[in-house]
């Protein structure tokens, strides 16, 4: 689908850990409602790129969401701009219930409310992930990998994002579960949700991405248009 105005603009962003340069002045832009997949082998800076875009690691360069420049090292600003990361390995709160995990996705909106009100505010996202319905009062730590991934996505949706950053959403998921995640992603791409997807497996990425870029040794290789 043709990209309208750029929703997410990444300009010469670079990340380095000590001497090691993980991301080397990467520039790419994602149009509103577009889904761009970043592929490439592990350890070539894909994850560093998205975590930097989400403001979790210190970075060089600028990141703009809907034209608004995001300050470096402030995940809160990114969240307020509607930019939500679903990190690799999920990072749920194992000792809290699934309900609380999902509910806290809406923190930036509901921080002042009482827990019950906040839940009523976001409970709608459950419709997207019916299998979570019966697990709401279970501790997130006791969920299986697939269920946790669903919970992580639900938490992200509870934040009412306008830009989704997905880091390896299918890592360690059974194929059919992965397929469900991708069906869901596909549905997302039909909406005006802007998606930046990090995926190690090109075959998966092709399914949903409008555009695929490849990162190698911290650099983005020239974008090639995918068959999708």
């Amino acid at each position: 689908m043709p990209a309208g105005a750029a929703a997410l603009e990444v300009e010469s962003v670079s990340v380095s850990y000590g001497k090691l340069v993980a991301v080397e002045s990467v520039t790419l832009s994602v149009g509103v409602g577009e889904c761009v997949a970043v592929i490439g082998p592990n350890g070539h800076g894909k994850s560093s790129l998205v975590t930097a875009v989400a403001g979790l690691v210190r970075r060089g360069g600028t990141v703009r969401a809907f034209g608004e420049t995001l300050p470096v090292g402030s995940p809160r600003a990114a969240v307020r701009a509607g930019l939500i990361l679903v990190p690799e390995r999920r990072h749920l709160y194992p000792e809290l219930t699934t309900r609380d995990n999902i509910m806290l996705g809406s923190y930036s909106r509901t921080r002042r409310l009482r827990a019950r009100q906040a839940w009523e505010d976001v409970s709608g996202v459950i419709d997207m992930f019916p299998e979570l319905g019966r697990l709401l009062d279970q501790k997130a730590g006791t969920l299986s990998g697939g269920q946790q991934q669903m919970a992580a996505l639900a938490r992200a949706m509870a934040a009412a994002p306008r830009i989704l950053l997905l880091d390896e959403p299918c890592l360690g998921l059974a194929e059919a579960v992965a397929r469900r995640v991708y069906d869901w992603l596909g549905a997302m791409t039909e909406t005006d949700m802007t998606i930046l997807l990090v995926e190690e497996n090109p075959a998966h990425a092709i399914l949903v991405a409008d555009r695929v870029v490849r990162m190698y040794k911290g650099l983005v290789e020239r974008p090639e248009v995918s068959s999708a």
């Binding site: 090691l20 993980a22 592990n42 350890g43 070539h44 560093s48």
Partner: protein
């Protein structure tokens, strides 16, 4: 975790692609240093522990002889007493990460044990030392059998409570001389004059320290040390590779406690008296600083740290009055700047040099790889069988 990949990707992928061609990759790769690995295996006898033991005894003995019974000599001997304790703590807290706060308690067992046995039952210093070691072993086995069942944080808290009531018991009990403690503890080895006694006892103390250091180093560098390394990182991992957590935890606890008791005995005989102070929280605090400031994994650091800190706390009145603030600030600085302590910083500086040394071994070892690496690829275990 995946980021550092960039550094040695070339190496690993070359080797992975060409499976068994480890040697080629090894010889080719600038970073991979099989030399060091091979060197490890060639050296079947590890000289370091013995060397350390002998070195400490000789140097320490000479230093004390040079001080010839001065007040400084007494301070150093006291420091040596603490050093024996901290050496044990390096194994227990530093290397095995068994965060137990019970050393001051066992220091007390050693000190009070010596005092009671010598003043009330007429033991001589040698007998009382052996008796104290036996006593500490039994007590630490009893306590350890209970506390080492608890996971990390629980163990720390349980042992955090120990000093409290032991201190109370000691101060309440008139048999242990309540607050004034026990006077008239014998020196290890008395001589004609006060000075000579101090020097001779000092030499015995240094000998004990040497033994302690040698023992700890030997254990840390042994196969058991490797097991301790694995379980201190991750206990689930430890048991999955056949480490008996219960056994190792208890052993480490007992070893640390017994060394603490020996240290206590050294203190008692150096000062000639025992006071409840050895049991107080502040004693435990000082011990922890003696270990954490120089670097909690370094035996040498712990020894030097113990002696230096003991010297500082006793020598200058400024430090001894403002001890709290100074200790606190140093502790925080160490924790923030260099968690591995001074030794960690030094090691990092020396690290580069050892790399160069390893590189010089590479070519030689690469040859060694070729003559035996070839069969490696056939079947996981076979290679291992050939190796032995």
């Amino acid at each position: 975790m995946s980021e550092p990949a960039a550094t040695d990707r070339g190496t690993i992928e070359s080797s992975a692609a060409t499976g068994p061609a480890g040697p080629a990759a090894a010889a080719a790769s600038p970073a991979g240093s099989p030399g060091a690995a091979a060197a490890h295996q060639v050296r079947r006898h590890d000289p370091v522990p013995l060397a350390a033991a002998v070195g400490i005894t000789i140097i320490g003995g000479l230093v004390l002889a040079a001080m010839n019974g001065s007040y400084l000599g007494l301070t150093v001997t006291t420091g040596v007493g603490y050093a024996v304790v901290t050496t044990g703590m390096v194994l227990q807290l530093g290397y095995s990460r068994q965060l137990a706060f019970s050393q001051s308690v066992f220091m007390g067992v050693g000190a009070y044990g010596t005092g009671v046995l010598e003043t009330k039952y007429g033991f001589n210093s040698a007998e009382s030392l052996l008796a104290v070691i036996a006593l500490a072993t039994v007590v630490s086995l009893l306590i350890g059998a209970v506390v080492t069942r608890a996971p990390g944080l629980a163990l720390a808290l349980a042992t955090l409570l120990l000093p409290l009531f032991i201190y109370q018991l000691a101060t309440y009990s008139s048999w242990l001389g309540s607050f004034s403690g026990i006077d008239g503890v014998l020196p290890f080895w008395s001589g004609p004059s006060y000075e000579s006694t101090l020097v001779r006892s000092g030499i015995i103390s240094v000998l004990l320290l040497g033994l302690a250091a040698g023992l700890v180093l030997r254990v840390m560098r042994s196969g058991v040390g490797l097991q301790l390394m694995a379980m201190s990182e991750d206990e689930r991992l430890g048991e999955s590779i056949g480490v008996s957590l219960r056994q190792r935890r208890l052993e480490v606890f007992v070893l640390g406690s017994v060394l603490a008791a020996v240290g206590g005995a050294v203190l008692a005989s150096a000062q000639g008296l025992v006071t409840p102070d050895v049991l107080s929280e502040s004693a435990e605090i000082t011990l922890l600083l003696m270990v954490f400031v120089p670097g909690r994994k370094s035996v040498a650091g712990a020894i030097i740290g113990a002696i230096v800190i003991e010297y500082l706390t006793t020598s200058t009145s400024f430090i001894s009055t403002n001890l709290g603030i100074i200790e606190g600030i140093i502790l925080l600085l160490i924790l923030l700047v260099e968690p591995d302590g001074v030794a960690g910083a030094v090691a990092r500086l020396l690290g580069r040099r050892t790399d160069r040394w390893a590189a010089s071994l590479r070519s030689w070892s690469a040859a060694r790889f070729r003559e035996r690496g070839g069969r490696g690829a056939r079947g996981g275990g076979n290679g291992a069988r050939d190796a032995t």
